[in-house]
């Protein structure tokens, strides 16, 4: 097991290096002067600020130094937690802007991932081998998982927000709300949170339900299931075993799907103007704020890596096959 986790950590470390290198490389590979490109749509009006910005970015890029030196400088400042200064919100540091946005993204992502995974697995197991559910609700699952995240968000915002008027459709709290520790504000947060959460949840739910349904059918055909049935075990026991075995590949699926769900959260935030990382990415693109964009990229990659590692650890804990090998009892 230690070998297994060590290998995983190596992969994640290399992935991190790759991500940082992409960040360093891409602006330097693109044609033209990155600093000029960045400032071409700079928001600051007066020439004094412009000049300050130009000086700052030229020194950060350090284009007059050799490439390896630039690369090392890049890593050095990264380890100091310095992701540069934002163009859009000059002179705020990117790290701070991102840290303010992370809680919103997590507030959408964590509940959506966990709840959709649990509910999807339950529902998929329930629907498997029930002809009626299989023929009515599973096509629905396929359609849900084929829905672009932002489109479901748009539909919910339009239907439940604009037309029905039940939920607000933009921001994390109302313009008139004053942030504070009180129930009114908390309720306002929940109301603003619900629609983006629901659209993320629904799309992901469809995928998990289908995955579980297919896995259960596969497990019910497995030889241990056939053997149990030949010995007259009740359907309930067979299904319980099948479910437990099907949950393991669904865990692996969770790790594989993390990137997609995170991407979905970014798109959903844009639909709802929810002030998380997705919204920052949009602002960064509109303002050519590449430091902010790259910072957001690194934050997301690190988040996905951490989540992957958590899934790996949980997997080791619940799969007896990896666990027993750890005790050295393998055959």
């Amino acid at each position: 097991m230690r070998r297994y986790l060590a290998r995983k950590i190596l992969v994640y470390a290399l992935t991190f290096v790759a991500a940082v290198s992409i960040n360093w490389l891409i602006p330097r590979l693109m044609p033209g002067d990155p600093v000029r490109t960045m400032l071409s749509r700079g928001s600051a009006g007066d020439p004094e600020t412009m000049q300050a910005m130009r000086d700052y970015y030229e020194s950060v890029f350090g284009l007059d130094q050799p490439a390896w030196q630039q690369y090392i400088n890049f890593w050095t400042s990264l380890f100091q937690g310095d992701l540069g200064i934002s163009v859009w919100l000059f002179p705020q540091p990117v790290t701070g802007i991102l840290l303010d946005a992370v809680p919103y993204t997590l507030a959408l992502l964590l509940p959506a991932i966990l709840l959709s995974w649990i509910a999807g697995n339950r529902f998929g197991a329930f629907a498997a081998r029930s002809r009626w559910l299989d023929n009515t609700l599973l096509p629905l699952g396929y359609i849900l998982t084929a829905t672009p995240y932002m489109w479901l968000g748009i539909l919910l915002a339009w239907g439940l927000g604009v037309v029905a008027g039940w939920f607000p459709t933009a921001g994390a709290y109302g313009f008139s709300s004053i942030p504070g520790w009180n129930w009114t504000f908390a309720w306002d947060l929940v109301m603003h949170w619900f629609l983006p959460f629901a659209s993320l949840f629904l799309v992901a739910f469809g995928g998990w339900a289908i995955g579980m349904r297919n896995l259960i059918i596969y497990e019910l055909e497995a030889e241990y299931s056939n053997y149990l049935e030949a010995l007259g075990a009740p359907r309930k026991l067979v299904r319980r075993y099948a479910f437990r075995n099907a949950v393991l590949p669904q865990m692996t699926g969770l790790a594989v799907q993390l990137g997609t769900i995170v991407a979905g959260a970014l798109l959903t935030e844009i639909v709802f103007g929810y002030p998380g990382l997705g919204n920052l990415i949009l602002q960064a693109l509109n303002n050519r704020d590449f430091f902010l964009l790259q910072g957001a990229f690194l934050f997301i990659v690190v988040g996905v890596l951490i989540a992957n590692f958590v899934v790996d650890v949980v997997y080791v804990v619940i799969d007896p096959r990896t666990r027993t090998q750890m005790q050295g009892g393998g055959a």
Partner: protein
């Protein structure tokens, strides 16, 4: 003559496919005496696996068309999944050919056995000592119960399955190609252990499905050879190997360089032609097209009759 344990009369089981019924089993009659171990042999497609499955658990595509199965005087409702449940494990049990993967990979073996036993409404504590005793008998200590299947070798898993399947002393045990995945020495010990189970009374009678005639004739009392969904010949092992009377059995034996070569899976080089398709099989004797002795009468189906005491065959040339 010993008491009849299993009595199968004119059993026909078809697979339903979109293109029509595949007559995998088309009129099979035989009986098994108390304590008898019957080897069941035949090429792939002969219906031997279908027969084995029919006696314990048909799959969704199988339909009983006609025929009757009696075990110890009680009719087995073979095509009624629900009604079959009380018989399974208690009266009829199975050692599947996939014994290596028959155990749930994510449960400790002991817990899986306990949950299975309890789910059948049996008090586990009453069975536990016997379980340990029998595990010991096949050379496993009680610790295997605390293991996950992945921690056991193939042979160990095979023995666990053998003990579990026979734990409730079933009247009939079906061993479905249990040895095909094992190496030669293990094959022999598994077969001998199963014969030992019969001797100790854990099981009353057994059908040993195989494609290895050499192995089966060492432990089986009788051998039944099937061809294209019907029995061709059944007699004592010795008679089948040394003095077969059905032309198919004879060609089968002579086509093997020596007894012991497995023949399933390959088309037999020694017998020209191939078995008839079972979607729409020809009338009369199904071996007719490949049979060197075939004559006009073979257009009628030969009955499976007793040609000598304890020796049945389905061939017009054998009779008389």
């Amino acid at each position: 003559m010993r008491r009849v344990s299993l009595d199968v009369t004119d059993l026909a089981v078809y697979y339903r496919t979109l293109r029509g019924d595949v007559r995998a089993l088309d009129g099979v009659s035989f009986s098994l005496a108390d304590g008898e171990i019957m080897g069941l042999a035949g090429e792939s497609g002969s219906g031997k696996s279908t027969l084995a499955k029919s006696l314990i658990r048909m799959d969704g595509r199988m339909r009983r068309i006609r025929g009757r199965v009696e075990l110890d005087g009680t009719e087995l409702p073979v095509d009624d999944q629900r009604a079959m449940v009380p018989f399974r494990f208690h009266e009829v049990s199975l050692i599947p050919q996939y014994a290596m993967s028959a155990l749930n990979p994510t449960r400790r073996i002991g817990r899986m056995i306990r949950e299975l036993i309890r789910s059948r409404g049996i008090d586990y504590t009453a069975v536990h000592p016997e379980l340990l005793r029998r595990l010991e008998l096949v050379g496993l200590d009680a610790q295997v119960l605390d293991r996950f299947p992945i921690e056991l070798s193939g042979g160990m898993k095979q023995r666990v399955v053998m003990v579990l399947s026979t734990l409730l002393d079933p009247s009939l045990l079906i061993a479905d190609e249990v040895t095909s995945a094992l190496d030669v020495t293990t094959q022999r010990s598994v077969a001998e252990a199963l014969a030992g189970f019969r001797d100790r009374g854990f099981i009353t009678s057994m059908i040993f499905v195989t494609h290895d005639l050499a192995l089966v004739h060492q432990i089986a009392d009788t051998i039944m050879v099937m061809y294209a969904g019907r029995p061709a010949e059944k007699a004592s092992s010795r008679t089948v190997i040394e003095a077969p009377r059905h032309p198919y059995t004879r060609m089968l034996l002579s086509s093997l360089p020596e007894v012991g070569v497995t023949f399933s899976g390959k088309r037999l080089e020694g017998i020209p032609g191939q078995p008839p398709g079972l979607l729409d099989p020809p009338e009369g004797c199904r071996f007719r097209d490949r049979c060197p002795l075939a004559f006009a009468k073979c257009a009628e189906e030969p009955p499976f009759t007793e040609v000598a005491p304890g020796h049945w065959a389905a061939c017009w040339k054998v009779e008389g």
